[in-house]
Symmetry: C2
Subunit: 194 residues, 2 copies
DNA sequence: CCACTATACGACACCGGGTGACATGTTCGT
DNA sequence: ACGAACATGTCACCCGGTGTCGTATAGTGG
């Protein structure tokens, strides 16, 4: 069973992320020091870093978890499916999960408007993007070259980025799913016949 | 005429970038301190930052210059040209310029293998990517929506990234221009009729 | 209930990237 | 040759991030 130790740890972590996000939203990411966050949550700067490896990670929180999810989802798709279609479906589902959380919404806004966070997001994405590319190439049926698989996943990420950006530009009113569909339709790759 | 002041400034800057690149290649980016670089070039840490706004910028050097170039090149293209084709042509030319320089080659290798540098590159790219997108949308002929223009430029960037990556994977032997053509052909967008 | 150990925390010192301020020299226009 | 613009070094400082140590507290076996 989960002991008290782990429970409090999770609780503190959540509280810390919460406080951090609030402060970031109020006064900006760069204008908020780690010490400030820690103090507002009732602990020390040193202890903040015992919960998060870096200041940026207080923002991302659960996002990295979903990264693994995408890889699994891709692997769960039928191996003979059009790769582009697989990416489309998986990312659409992933996107809806993000959209469901109020927290994730605020994070997105913050990330999009803070250069260093945008960069960090790309870094994280690049990590599981490579895994997705590998997953596509591992399919027994379609012999995808590394170059092609990379290109597809990169393009899919580009689509996702564009949708996020447009959605934020619309103030959160736009229909994300529809945008994603448009994006995936517009740049549908012309794969060689198999 | 360019006075001595500006000439020496350029020279020092180049020297600094040179020394930095050498040290980075030898012992890694993170393992090299700014003070080390400055000392090796015969000045102070403080002075290093008078030539480069950040440690990372010693690596990029001339890259940001070419960023502006891309925007101009896009604007110089005929306004009724297919946007995707415009991007293709401009990026191909840009890529060849990069390829011509021995320096840029080493930089690319370093950037690709250093997370913080990769992040910084994306940050820089995002900046002029937005300008390119605006340039496309400014065309009087084809009324591109912001979403579409963003999608195209994002996809073009994705293509460029994939090519760079593949090229490095091949150890620099692959034909970049051919790869770029393949990429741009594979994900050619299906634009609505105008 | 009591000892024993693992864990969490605060405190402190330290590193490296980056900035502001000031003093001193050097180059430029006139 | 003179004053203004500029470059450099020095010093102090901020902030993100890490290593270390002492100490309190929670979890566990008897």
């Amino acid at each position: 069973m989960t002991g008290l130790r782990e429970r409090t740890r999770r609780a503190v972590r959540a509280e810390l992320a919460d406080v951090a996000l609030r402060l970031f939203a109020e006064q900006g990411f760069d204008q908020t020091t780690v010490e400030e966050i820690a103090q507002a949550a009732g602990l020390t700067k040193r202890s903040f870093f015992r919960y998060f490896p870096a200041k940026e990670d207080a923002v991302f929180g659960g996002v990295d978890v979903t990264g693994e999810q995408v890889v699994d989802d891709i692997r769960a798709r039928p191996g003979d499916e059009d790769p582009w279609h697989s990416l489309h479906q998986v990312l659409r589902r992933w996107q809806q999960q993000i959209h469901a959380s109020e927290q994730a919404l605020a994070s997105l806004r913050l990330i999009e408007s803070t250069p260093s966070l945008r960069a960090r997001l790309h870094e994280k994405r690049a990590h599981w993007r490579q895994q997705v590319s590998d997953a596509l190439r591992d399919r027994p049926d379609a012999g995808l070259e590394a170059f092609t698989a990379d290109l597809l996943t990169n393009a899919a990420t580009a689509a996702l980025d564009t949708v996020s950006h447009e959605w934020l530009r619309s103030g959160g009113t736009a229909d994300q799913a529809a945008l994603l569909d448009r994006a995936f339709t517009l740049i549908r790759p012309a794969l060689p016949a198999r």
